[in-house]
């Protein structure tokens, strides 16, 4: 009864808007048959894994660091009034993120030499778009109340990738303490659109000739696209599934290390790679500077000057728009993970021998996870504490509490269930925001079904 009461208290205390963690829950979750996806060097609980085709692993994550749907569209509130409120609190580093991963195939097997091999194929949609907050306020208000502000193009950043990835991985256990894993990845870029690393300023100063000088200074804006230019229907994308012509290489690396019996240290780096886009390319760029302080009237004795055309010609000369078809490289959004966990079984009976032989398994761990992802403008980073427990070889659970760029704390959880040799797992971000999805700024879900075999 006391335990049920404690659980109820925890439920009540956590009825808050909580934010999510990008894969931090599933990382190092040792009951998960898909553990090698986040660390090729992870200790796998199973001898072999055959992901049920098309159902083996599905990941969906959507996040908005600035506001929730409720903030904008709550019933009995005014959308017209909500928009300026949200705009006033928007930061240039706020962003929208959408990530969908769908594994078509994933097979893992342990060879006689205890090396673990894995091969798989998945589709991935990744989009991150930053809110250029200052520019949005400029568009909403007009420039009249922003004459003293400087607007910077560096906050114009967005990246969308639709990629098919084929991988082959090897994991080698060097000894009882150290395991190293590697995945070689072949990327097939189906579509891409990106802009980032832009520069340029828009601002206004006082003028000696007129009221103001409006400055457009050192503009350097580039947009690159592939796969959007002419075709776009389903048949076209299906025809690209084998080889789109936009190919790339990448790698995942990871390890797990047992410094002693109770402690496990892991780390991984994922999607260290690139795609070279050379098909269906369309690029756009804007370069230059321009100043405007009104038209200077000359009062000619005869004839009329075409001031407006002269102004347009002057602008087009100084701010050049270029459209091109040059190939380009798109770097994959690299992710880093690391963790340290400590076995908590029989803590009262710790002896010196516990720190010698790492063979003994523990049924529960507490630990810390750190993670980071390279994104345009700003690196996303965070850390979490977790508790995971192996109830039996058929049932594993994990709870995470995370702090990151978006929130001071977020609660996530994972469950892995083996019904005979059929393995189910589900990972959820933002668990307790299920109490009100409309107020959630992020939701993440990962689930899959596999056919497994156990280690002897």
């Amino acid at each position: 009864m006391k335990k049920i009461f404690a659980v109820l208290i925890i439920w009540v205390l956590f009825q808050n808007k909580l934010l999510a963690q990008f894969e931090a829950v599933s990382y190092d979750f040792w009951g998960n048959a898909m553990a090698l996806n986040t660390n090729p060097g992870a200790s796998l609980e199973y001898k072999s894994v055959f992901a049920i085709p098309f159902f083996g692993n599905t990941q969906v994550f959507a996040g908005n660091s600035a506001f929730s749907p409720y903030d904008l569209l709550a019933e009995n509130t005014s959308f017209q009034k909500n928009v300026p409120i949200i705009l006033s609190g928007l930061k240039n580093t706020d962003n929208l993120l959408l990530y969908i991963r769908y594994d078509l195939a994933n097979v893992v097997w342990t060879a006689a030499n205890n090396n673990v091999y894995n091969i798989g194929l998945y589709w991935e949609l990744y989009n991150i778009t930053y809110f250029p907050a200052d520019l949005l306020r400029l568009g909403y208000d007009g420039n009249a109340m922003h004459l003293n502000d400087v607007f910077d193009a560096k906050y114009l950043a967005s990246k969308t990738d639709l990629v098919q990835t084929l991988y082959f991985g090897i994991q080698k256990r060097f000894n009882n303490r150290f395991t190293l894993g590697y995945r070689f990845k072949l990327y097939n870029g189906l579509a891409n659109a990106q802009t980032g690393g832009n520069s340029g300023k828009l601002y206004t100063t006082e003028s000696n000739n007129n009221y103001y000088i409006h400055h457009l200074e050192d503009v350097d804006i580039n947009v690159q696209t592939s796969g959007y230019s002419e075709h776009g229907d389903t048949q076209y994308y299906l025809s690209k599934l084998l080889l789109s012509g936009n190919m790339g290489l990448g790698t995942d690396l990871g390890f797990s290390f047992h410094p002693n019996q109770r402690t496990i240290v892991t780390a991984s780096i994922l999607d260290l790679g690139f795609i070279y886009f050379s098909k269906d390319i369309k690029t756009y760029s804007y370069h230059g500077s321009f100043q405007y302080e009104g038209v200077a009237l000359q009062f000619p004795e005869t004839g009329a000057q075409d001031y407006w055309q002269t102004l347009k010609d002057d602008f087009n000369t100084h701010v050049v728009k270029t459209e091109g078809f040059d190939s380009y490289i798109s770097w994959r959004p690299v992710r880093f993970y690391t963790s340290i966990k400590y076995g908590t079984d029989n803590l009262k009976k710790i002896s010196c021998e516990d720190f010698v032989d790492p063979k003994t398994e523990y049924s529960s761990y507490i630990g810390l996870t750190g993670f980071a992802q390279v994104r345009p403008i700003k690196i996303y980073a965070g850390a979490s504490v977790f508790y995971e427990k192996k109830w039996s070889k058929h049932f594993y659970t994990k709870l995470n509490l995370t702090a990151d760029n978006y929130s001071f704390y977020a609660l996530g959880g994972a469950v892995a269930l083996n019904l005979g040799r059929l393995h189910f797992y589900v990972t959820g971000d933002n668990l307790l925001s299920l109490s009100d999805l409309a107020k959630s700024q992020k939701l993440g879900l990962q689930f899959g079904i596999s056919w497994i075999s156990f280690k002897p």
């Binding site: 659980v7 007129n210 009221y211 038209v295 009237l297 109490s435 409309a438 107020k439």
Partner: protein, 181 residues
């Protein structure tokens, strides 16, 4: 502990819900941006007031195209315009200044005029500012103008012209209401 976990699971399932959202509101958004921008300026010197035959030009004018209202959405979104004109005169002459807002048929849809006093020995520089206001209700034809004609008439109209100057500058503050769908 197993019972506790089952309890948590059931609570999560039964607790999942969402506050109501009104998605129909997002079909359109009305915004009211105000744009403030320079329009024109000039510096009249004595060379501008005499022609190639050294005759006095009592009235001079110049024209600048202003095609911003050619766009139908901008025309529909127009609410009000405040055209501010500032000047600085060191001529010992008076200037009658007219701003004509001309449509594509060369007809004046709106006008604005003011007089600039002559400078003198006790007031060597005359400065001032005036503002014309045109709004959708009282000046519905304003959005039809496509060019601005500035006409300046000088008195007295005698030679020689002093080596002085008349500086004039104009900006516009445009109030709009735009529906974004």
């Amino acid at each position: 502990m197993k019972h506790s976990l089952s309890f948590i699971f059931i609570m999560l399932l039964t607790g999942a819900c969402s506050s109501k959202l009104d998605l129909d509101q997002a079909k359109q958004l009305d915004i009211q941006p105000v744009v403030e921008v320079d329009i024109l300026y000039f510096d009249l010197q004595k060379e501008n007031l005499t022609d190639s035959n050294a005759l006095f030009r009592q009235q001079i004018s110049d024209t600048v195209d202003f095609g911003i209202f050619e766009d139908g959405k901008i025309r529909d979104g127009f609410v009000k315009a405040e055209i501010s004109v500032a000047y600085r005169n060191t001529f010992y002459r008076q200037f009658d200044t007219d701003f004509y807002f001309i449509d594509e048929h060369d007809s004046a849809v709106e006008t604005g005029n003011f007089t600039i006093d002559a400078a003198n020995s006790s007031q060597p520089e005359v400065t001032g500012e005036t503002t014309f206001v045109f709004d959708k209700t009282n000046n519905p034809e304003f959005v039809n103008f496509r060019k601005i004609v500035v006409k300046v008439t000088v008195t007295p109209d005698n030679l020689p012209v002093e080596d002085k100057s008349l500086h004039m500058q104009a900006k516009g503050k445009f109030y709009t209401r735009i529906t974004v769908e």
